[in-house]
């Protein structure tokens, strides 16, 4: 539309560029399909099978014996609360050691950054199932997985928000001769509070979701009930658990939204 005035050479170049990128994309798709032996026909016929599977085998949810779900649901909530708490405390300390403007020493900062980015970039279920090997099946590895992952995630986002803070307050305090600790207490923490609340609440939402899937590798919570009922082909029960999960996640999101509106 805008190229009407542009020179024809430029237009031709742009067209060629677009053609090349489309061709590359097509080549990548073809290569991928060949590499994983992806059969489009089988895939397409799989979609109706999947949908009938969901509607015929899966729904309706099994409404009997509702009491048996309360334990796992409470477990999941407790996991998320405890995980969020401890990881927000640990993450806060790490973040202050890690952020450029509060770090005591550059070496500390670089080492912590390395560790945090390593843990964060390896998916969470990998850590969870490694912890299952270390601590055995049960709630403990699940909680620790949430802790390890949550701490690293929060340390990164906290550190980023600390680095983004206004420098004016810090400089003013520095000029009036405040110590390092005083600067952190009076200039950085008050400014950082809104970001802290908001990220911690977000972490709580993430933790609810994660503690729901932790059970799939044997780390407790409602996920283990889901896995169990899937393995036993009790699809009615499984779909009930999924429905409970949806309600739980939506309720938590609604709640954190309300808290956010009140606090911020």
């Amino acid at each position: 539309m805008y190229n009407e005035t542009a020179s024809p050479v430029f237009r031709r170049q742009k067209k060629a560029k677009r053609a090349i990128s489309l061709a590359l994309l097509a080549a990548a798709v073809v290569f991928s399909v060949w590499y994983v032996k992806f059969d489009p026909v089988e895939f397409l016929s799989g979609i109706p099978i999947f949908i009938t599977f969901i509607f015929a085998d899966f729904l309706p949810p099994n409404l009997t014996n509702l009491k048996s779900y309360t334990g796992p649901v409470l477990d999941t909530l407790v996991f998320a609360v405890v995980g969020t708490f401890i990881s927000s405390a640990l993450g806060l300390v790490t973040a202050f050691l890690m952020a450029r403007n509060t770090s005591p020493h550059p070496a500390v900062r670089i080492i912590l950054r390395g560790i945090v980015s390593f843990v964060r970039n390896v998916p969470f279920l990998v850590w969870a199932s490694l912890l299952v090997v270390i601590f055995g099946v049960g709630t403990m590895p699940g909680l620790f997985a949430l802790l390890v992952f949550g701490t690293c995630f929060l340390a990164r986002v906290y550190a980023e928000s600390i680095e983004e803070l206004d420098k004016d307050a810090t400089e003013a305090l520095e000029a009036s001769g405040a110590s390092h600790v005083q600067i952190i207490k009076h200039a950085i923490i008050p400014q950082f509070m809104p970001a802290y609340f908001s990220w911690t609440l977000f972490m709580f939402e993430i933790n609810i979701r994660s503690s729901a899937i932790l059970g799939l590798v044997g780390a407790g919570g409602i996920g283990s009930n889901l896995k169990q009922s899937m393995d036993l082909f009790q699809y009615g029960r499984a779909s009930m658990i999924i429905v409970i999960l949806i309600v739980l996640i939506l309720a938590v999101e609604f709640l954190t939204q309300k808290i956010r509106e009140r606090i911020l």
Partner: protein
């Protein structure tokens, strides 16, 4: 606690009389904010204590676990490169699953996003119903979608793609629609005024300008998708996760170490590339 003593508690006359600082601290914080913060932390602390008392963690399990760490760590340290071909193959498969999912989802989402965006939707109520359906789809964790797909199609990368398509398209549709709502109003109004049809508005008016922002969203989602596919392998959807799960359950920690390093490097690289793509798109 010194902050509790408020400045008003000391009448100015007293200060004038003595003429020197009283030694008490002047209250700095905003009172209502402080109160709110205290309330928040108090409520949180109570909740925390209740939850901790609810959890029954056994100390024995903890110490046993801790004592097994050095043993496992030493095994992890003897990193072996025997499994390198398998692992690269697995990693490539994971990336391909992510790539195919994103390609298919983008096609689906571009079509559906225009049905959902408030300012261009042809049927208002249908758009709204679809929105709620998508919300429910997005709420179910990705891993559970894949678990369902595996249950219906059997193990393999195809089940992975099928399972991932649902949350991925749902996310993309929502972000695309938000983008359309944010930037499309003027174009839509101008084109409506000259009598363009719905198809003309979408394909001639909106799409050309939206391609770059859409590309930024897609590159971000691809980054998430790669991390997601690694996990999905662990519930049986093909890719490197299957290998990692095997190594963990057969205690082959030397191979596992290499696997984790490969995963880390790949995800890190994907993140770097996608960041660069996005910053280049933003500069245009």
């Amino acid at each position: 606690m010194q902050q509790e003593t408020s400045f008003q508690a000391y009448p100015s006359s007293k200060l004038e009389k003595t003429g020197k600082p009283s030694g008490k601290k002047i209250r700095v914080g905003h009172r209502k904010t402080q109160l709110q913060n205290r309330l928040f932390f108090a409520a949180a602390a109570v909740l925390f204590l209740v939850c901790v008392s609810f959890l029954d963690l056994s100390w024995e399990q903890f110490t046993n676990g801790l004592s097994s760490i050095p043993n496992i760590a030493s095994k992890v340290m003897t990193i072996s490169f025997d499994a390198l071909p398998d692992l690269t193959d697995g990693m490539l498969t994971s990336i391909i699953i992510a790539f195919l999912t994103v390609v298919i989802s983008v096609v689906l989402s571009i079509l559906l996003a225009f049905l959902i965006a408030e300012n261009i939707t042809p049927v208002k109520w249908a758009g709204r119903v679809l929105r709620y359906i998508l919300l429910v789809i997005r709420t179910v964790p990705t891993t559970i979608w894949v678990l369902l797909a595996v249950a219906s199609m059997g193990f393999g990368s195809m089940a992975g793609v099928l399972g991932l398509i649902f949350p991925t398209s749902s996310y993309l549709i929502k972000s695309f629609a938000a983008q359309i709502e944010e930037s499309g109003d003027e174009t839509i109004e101008a084109m409506r005024a000259v009598g363009a049809s719905w198809l003309q508005i979408v394909f001639k008016g909106l799409l050309p300008g939206l391609l770059l922002p859409f590309l930024a969203i897609v590159s971000f989602r691809f980054e998430m998708e790669v991390a997601e596919t690694v996990m999905l392998g662990m519930v049986g959807a093909g890719g490197i996760g299957v290998l990692l799960q095997d190594y963990i359950s057969y205690y082959e920690f030397a191979d596992l170490a290499l696997g984790i390093i490969i995963v880390f490097v790949t995800i890190f690289a994907v993140e770097l590339i996608s960041n660069r793509v996005r910053s280049r798109l933003a500069r245009r």
